[in-house]
Amino acid sequence: MGFRVLTLIRPFMGVIPEVASPDRKVAFNQKVLWTVITLLIFLVLSQVPLYGIMSSDSSDPLYWMRVILASNRGTLMEFGITPIITSGMIMQLLAGAQIISVDYSLREDRALFSGAQKLFAMLITFGSAMVAVMTGQYGDPKSLGAGICLLLIIQLFVAGVIVILLDEMLQKGYGLGSGINLFIATNICEDIVWKSLSPLTINSGKGPEFEGAIIAFFHLLFVRSNKFKAVYEALTRSNLPNLTNLVATVLVFSVVIYLQGFRVEIPVKSARFRGHRASFPIKLFYTSNMPIMLQSALASNVFMISQLLYRRFPDNLLVKLVGVWEPYKGSSQFFPTSGLAYYMTPPREFINTLKDPIHFVLYVGYMLTVCALLSRAWLDISGSGPREVARELRDQQTVIAGYRETSMYKELKRIIPTAATVGGVIIGILSISADLLGAIGSGTGILLAVTIIYNYFEAFAKEQAEMGGLGVAGM
């Protein structure tokens, strides 16, 4: 590229809505407040139904991405944080591949880049809104009428812009962490709490049953004459969440938390301050949950395309090889029953692993391989490979105790890539096990929730230490 793409963005910068940076460092308590408010706004928006929808019974093409997108179907938050993530990912890729040249050390370049990201996210919101409405997601556009269609698009667009601004607000220092993580984690936790305590009742022929597993447990105990049968049903009913799901969830949580604490402690010392000893931890989950998120995004895109193709050309052999879709027992949601897409989805219940062992084996092979590869690749994409870390340590004049500066890189090279690959594989295993056990929130979801909450906890502790330190020094 001869000229810089970023210069194209400059005229738009004045038009894009922007959150002003705080002029002073925001107090910790205030940050918590802002974060909570932002969360509430997001949650309320996720519950407000879109005005003018005719039908939400059709199969949801975005079903597979709901967890990582923090989005709720049929509400203002239809796209959740998708636009921000998609825009971010693509822009990062473009910048990394040098298609767009960005000089991160120049303040103006950084501003232009983030402005471009925002603009792109808004475009994606608008585009997605149009596609969703026009392809009949909310009902046939002809029967909706042009007015309602336009109204739907505007609603989705405005909601999307609000999310973008909320995220920016948190990132500019008004709140803790990033909006994206907050929204994802909250949605997952809420999903689990809801599936345990939902007061909604569903009538499926045996009389009204409560959706929430815990509530249903007490209800069944109360209502059924055979108490043993009541407990059994509370533990194993398959059409609604049951207690075994809950137990599995708790189990997966515990295991993930335990593994999160695994780290290789590298003793380091500073060349500047003699005698200053510290430890540089390299977590087992070095790439955190990126492999899973990337895998989810990849799989969802494949599924979306496969579903579209199958709906249009259900008899084409090539299309069928990619995926054959049918509604899953009882619900209107489509699931793949054969083809490439089939082997990319987890077996729904434990029994199915025995019924179709090839599916299980291929799925496990696919997941573990993809997770390992993505994890390894992420090191280069995100710039957290051994070379970059060694350089950072050198800049801070820190060396590994007992090693010379030059061999620091070699030692890191032994540990970091292995941690990334092994961590990725373990994350894959965890995700598969969680799905098999029937844990609520899916393996991916629980992993995300734990890592995000854990990161918040670390950030919390750091901020408090900083604030506390500053307070003392200021006196």
């Binding site: 909570v36 969360l39 509430l40 949650l43 309320v44 996720s46 519950q47 407000v48 139904p49 005005y51 984690a185 909250t186 949605n187 936790c189 809420e190 689990i192 709490v193 809801w194 305590l197 007061p199 909604l200 949580f253 515990s254 938390i257 335990y258 999160q260 604490g261 695994f262 780290r263 290789v264 402690e265 931890p281 087992l284 390992a372 540990i415 292995t418 941690a419 690959t421 092994v422 594989v425 929730a449 734990v450 909450i453 854990y454 918040y456 906890f457």
Partner: protein, 75 residues
Amino acid sequence: KQESTGTSSGNVFLEAPQQLAKEGAWLLRRCTKPNKKEYLKIVQAVVLGFLVMGFVGYFTKLIHIPINNIIVGGA
């Protein structure tokens, strides 16, 4: 430490996972594992965060059920 450069058994699909398993075992042994005290501390933090986020979302959803009924019922 010698790296295995050739595929002596000739099958890449078996070699790579084996190598990975060996490296993985080495890494896991080298890792510091959280001891009971650390573990409980993290569990407490995560449970707290989970409860806060879970219930905030739960109550928002709960409150919205009747509100939504009013909105949609009236429209």
